[in-house]
């Protein structure tokens, strides 16, 4: 049951998390285009951590059964949280004059996406990419 955790507090950590995601995904047999989808989703979530919550932790684990394997990515921070989740998940919504595609985009790139956030407590995002070639 190996789980790999990586703390995120700066730009360089975002790059490291992306790289780690790629490595884990490669071991799980994902195709190169799927690896890029995964790395990009990680990039979005990790950047949000740095921008809005200052820091946080991302963990990676292989999940599934014999017939269905996937990569689980959990991003956890103790930042300000998100008051209106459905708004934050809308294309183009941003509180930082940014593109507002990070959350909705990551959701599109992954197969499963769950977000839990409480103002003043923090944000937890769980997402999974399944390997379709199984």
């Amino acid at each position: 049951m190996q789980e790999i955790r990586i703390p995120i507090c700066s730009d360089t950590d975002i790059v490291a998390a992306r790289k780690l995601g790629r490595e884990m995904g490669t071991k799980l047999g994902f195709s190169s285009s799927e690896l890029t989808l995964i790395a990009t989703a990680i990039s979005e979530i990790a950047r949000n951590m740095v921008t809005y919550a200052h820091d946080g932790v991302i963990s990676f684990a292989a999940v599934g059964t014999t017939n269905k394997r996937g990569l689980l990515i959990v991003a956890e921070d103790k930042g300000p949280g998100i008051a209106d989740l459905s708004l934050a998940l809308q294309d183009g919504y941003s509180t930082s004059k940014s593109l507002g595609l990070g959350l909705p985009g990551a959701k599109r790139l992954m197969d499963e996406f769950e977000i839990d956030s409480k103002p003043g407590v923090g944000t937890v995002i769980k997402m999974i990419k399944w390997n379709r070639r199984q």
Binding site: T12, V15, R22, L35, P104
Partner: protein, 121 residues
């Protein structure tokens, strides 16, 4: 890691590196717009060949840079976006908003020699 910018005739060629920090992007933006003026360049090619991820932050930075280059009176062409990266960008909902694109550096240079008329797609 600063972005290397090469002058070739009337063109500037910038080779973007992986893992650019926010500061790198800002420095690059500043340096590039400055160089366009200094060399009175007519075009800028942004070569993304080595990037394996282009997230919304990088895309926004790129758009800003292309916009500024245009305001300085030069043409901007983005080249070398990897197939996987292109597909991911589309899935994510990212576009380059009217920025011209080319296959690679060679294509970018040849595009610079032609007027833009047929590229309205």
């Amino acid at each position: 890691m600063p972005v290397p910018i090469l002058k070739q005739g009337a063109l500037l060629i910038a080779t973007l590196q992986d893992a650019l920090t926010d500061k790198d992007w800002l420095d690059f933006q500043f340096e590039l717009t400055k160089l366009v003026g200094v060399h009175r360049s007519t075009g800028v090619i942004l070569d993304l060949t080595v990037l394996d991820v282009l997230d919304s932050f990088a895309t926004k930075s790129l758009r800003t840079i292309a916009e500024m280059v245009k305001l300085r009176g030069a043409r901007a062409i983005v080249v070398g976006i990897h197939p996987d990266v292109a597909f991911t960008m589309v899935q994510l909902g990212l576009t380059l908003h009217g920025i011209e694109t080319g296959l690679d550096l060679e294509d970018g240079i040849s595009l610079m020699k032609h007027p833009t008329e047929f590229r309205s797609h």
